[in-house]
């Protein structure tokens, strides 16, 4: 168990909204091994966003134990959580969440500005490498407003990758994209996963789950299904079959 990248044991999360107690998660157990590509599925209100926030060290569980890469997250203070997010996690959001009026390169460089381990000597160079890795080698100076949705999400993925995280967390990464661009981005995720990066996708779209290795379904704060994807599709192949013309 200790070798697992993510280990959740008996996790519950209770919110207090006025006098009401909202049980967002009710005893969740989940382990994710290095190299996996997992989709966490569920409808709105199922608790998948809460699970995502807990995995991302943005929130703490009410009960239960969370270990990330061997570190017991429950015991950590705010500064340690911030450092953990910085060093071990990469975030990709539905709304891209890039800094406006800031070049792609500066956006990707951002996590390195908060790095306290001083392991990056040439932050500009590494940011450029990360951008090249997601296929945006020619867009360094572009601001988000000058990029298409797919390109913006690629910048966000480059920003998530630049710190060489243990886990890439993507919250509805294709929610704001058209179907062709969605598959394009999923192809990128598959490519990164093939290179050994562990990825967790949170989504409510069943289509997205066809491209991952493992599917975890959440409903009413509990995991109701957790199985491997048998007929896993390659996004790159699907993309080749689609009619050309959609914006990349």
């Amino acid at each position: 168990m200790t070798t697992s990248l993510v280990s959740l044991e008996g996790i519950s999360r209770v919110y207090h909204l006025g006098r009401n107690e909202v049980h967002a998660l009710r005893g969740v157990d989940l382990t994710i091994e290095p190299g996996e590509m997992v989709a966490i599925m569920g409808s709105s209100g199922s608790g998948k966003s809460t699970l995502m926030n807990l995995l991302g060290c943005l929130d703490s569980p009410t009960t239960g134990e969370y270990r990330l890469d061997g570190v017991r997250v429950n015991d950590l203070g705010k500064n340690d959580l911030a450092d953990l997010r910085n060093q071990k996690l990469g975030f990709v959001f539905q709304g891209f969440n890039l800094l406006a009026r800031t070049s792609a390169l500066d956006n990707v460089e951002l996590p390195m500005l908060y790095d306290r381990s001083n392991r990056f000597a040439d932050s500009k160079g590494l940011a450029a490498q990360a951008l090249a890795r997601v296929g945006l080698a020619d867009r360094f100076d572009h601001q988000p407003s000058e990029l298409s949705g797919g390109q913006q999400q690629r910048v966000a993925i480059a920003r998530a990758l630049v710190m060489q995280p243990r886990l890439l967390l993507a919250d509805e990464p294709t929610g704001n994209l058209d179907s062709r661009t969605s598959i394009d981005i999923l192809a990128l995720f598959q490519e990164l996963n093939d290179q050994g990066i562990t990825i967790v996708l949170v989504t409510h779209e069943a289509d997205v789950a066809r491209y991952v290795r493992r599917r975890v379904e959440v409903r009413d704060g509990r995991i109701i299904r957790d199985d491997a994807v048998l007929e896993r599709r390659r996004a790159a192949d699907d993309l080749a079959l689609m009619p050309a013309g959609g914006a990349a």
Partner: protein, 409 residues
């Protein structure tokens, strides 16, 4: 995140909102410039007044006729003129600390020359007057003791008279009629300019007091009396002692009993200077205080914009927190932003303030130099304004919950 990076990040976000930040900065710019200009004006006024007082003469003591007291009822200054030539002579003879003593008789007179006439004031004085007033001649000479002793009809004129009655020519050796008595001009005094009160010190004719008494008296009869006695000491530190000495001599000369009030008044220019300096100092502090209110208003403007900025950039803060910024990183970033705005505003304010006081100096002719201390205080104060008014918004920013901040639309 080191300081250089923080400043860079802060500068970047300031540059993202150029117009807004420029307007925010304007409050500080105006505040600092106003404070500096007010301080410069105050300093200029003080310097100006000090110069004017120095122009009156060095370490001047003025003795004027004081109050007469009839039956316990004070009649007010100058009501009974008890200053006489003897008083001046006695002071001159007995006082030990004085550089010079001169009786002064004033008489407004129409001065007539071949080319025109001019209303002026004739001062009848002794030769010590030149020492007391520290007044040199630009041409010719001042009259000497022999002129005073023999009551010769010689006159020394001020530069205003020379300009108006002898334009283009040297008045020395020419005639001037004072109350129908012809005088020979033997000297022209250097210009002293205006007094603090605006009176022209150069609009004057100076003659021996003996001549004034013998030649010009008759019509009014007031000439035998002395308007005032002027004296001076060699150093300012002697002034209090010299004043006491004069007072003792005057009381003896006037045969005043132990319980009688002085029937004369002794003032020195230090008192005059202190009063004038005090007034301008209060004025300049008052002006600077009013100006610093605009600095305060500028600070509130910064706080307002920073609060707006925090709300508007909630998502940005969420992103930064999600990718690993600590609360202190966010707080420092916003604090540095407000300090950069206010300090930059302060620097621009200093430039404008310096330029403004330079222009003002050109217009008024005052020496409106800004003291270095004022510049240092202005920069320090504007940075402090940035910290003070930036602290609350920065705290608000750092305390945001990253989950909610990321969801903020």
């Amino acid at each position: 995140m080191n300081l250089a990076t923080l400043v860079k990040v802060a500068t970047q976000s300031i540059l993202r909102h150029k117009l807004r930040m420029a307007l925010t900065m304007l409050g500080i710019v105006i505040g600092v410039a106003a404070v500096l200009i007010m301080i410069a004006v105050g300093q200029g006024a003080q310097t100006r007044i000090a110069e004017q007082i120095k122009n009156l003469g060095t370490n001047l003591i003025v003795i004027t006729a004081g109050t007469s007291n009839s039956g316990g009822v004070s009649q007010g200054a100058g009501t009974f003129n008890r200053l006489t030539e003897d008083d001046a002579t006695k002071i001159k003879r007995e006082a030990t600390l004085l550089a010079g003593v001169s009786p002064v008789v004033f008489a407004p007179t129409q001065a007539i020359t071949a080319s025109g006439n001019w209303r002026t004031v004739v001062n009848g004085v002794s030769t010590d007057y030149q020492v007391i007033r520290d007044w040199t001649t630009q041409s010719g000479v001042f009259f000497n003791d022999a002129d005073v002793r023999t009551a010769r009809k010689v006159a020394v004129i001020g530069s205003t008279i020379a300009k108006n009655l002898y334009a283009g020519t040297d008045p020395v050796g020419q005639q001037i009629q004072l109350r129908n008595v012809p005088f020979t001009i033997i000297g022209v005094l250097n210009s002293k300019g205006q007094t603090a009160g605006g009176a022209d010190q150069d609009d004057v004719v100076v003659i021996p007091y003996t001549t004034a008494k013998t030649r010009l008296s008759g019509r009014s009869g007031g000439w035998s009396r002395i308007s005032q006695i002027l004296a001076s000491t060699n150093s300012a530190s002697d002034l209090p002692a010299a004043q006491e000495e004069i007072r003792a001599i005057m009381r003896e000369s006037h045969k005043l009993g132990d319980d009688a009030y002085d029937d004369f008044t002794i003032r020195n220019q230090d008192e005059l200077a202190d009063a004038a300096q005090g007034t301008t100092k209060v004025m300049s502090w008052l002006l600077a205080a009013i100006a610093s209110i605009s600095l305060l208003v500028g600070g509130i403007g910064i706080m307002n914009i920073m609060l707006v900025s925090v709300t508007e950039r909630t998502r940005e803060i969420g992103i930064r927190l999600a990718i690993g910024a600590r609360q202190s990183d966010v707080m420092t970033q916003f604090l540095i932003e407000s300090v950069v705005i206010s300090s930059l505003g302060g620097v621009i304010g200093i430039v404008i303030g310096a330029a403004g006081s330079l222009v003002l100096g050109q217009i008024t002719g005052w020496s409106t130099a800004i003291p270095l201390s004022a510049v240092v205080i202005a920069v320090g104060f504007s940075a402090a304004v940035g910290v003070f008014f930036g602290l609350y918004p920065a705290r608000q920013a750092s305390r945001l919950d990253p989950i909610q901040a990321l969801r903020y639309e």
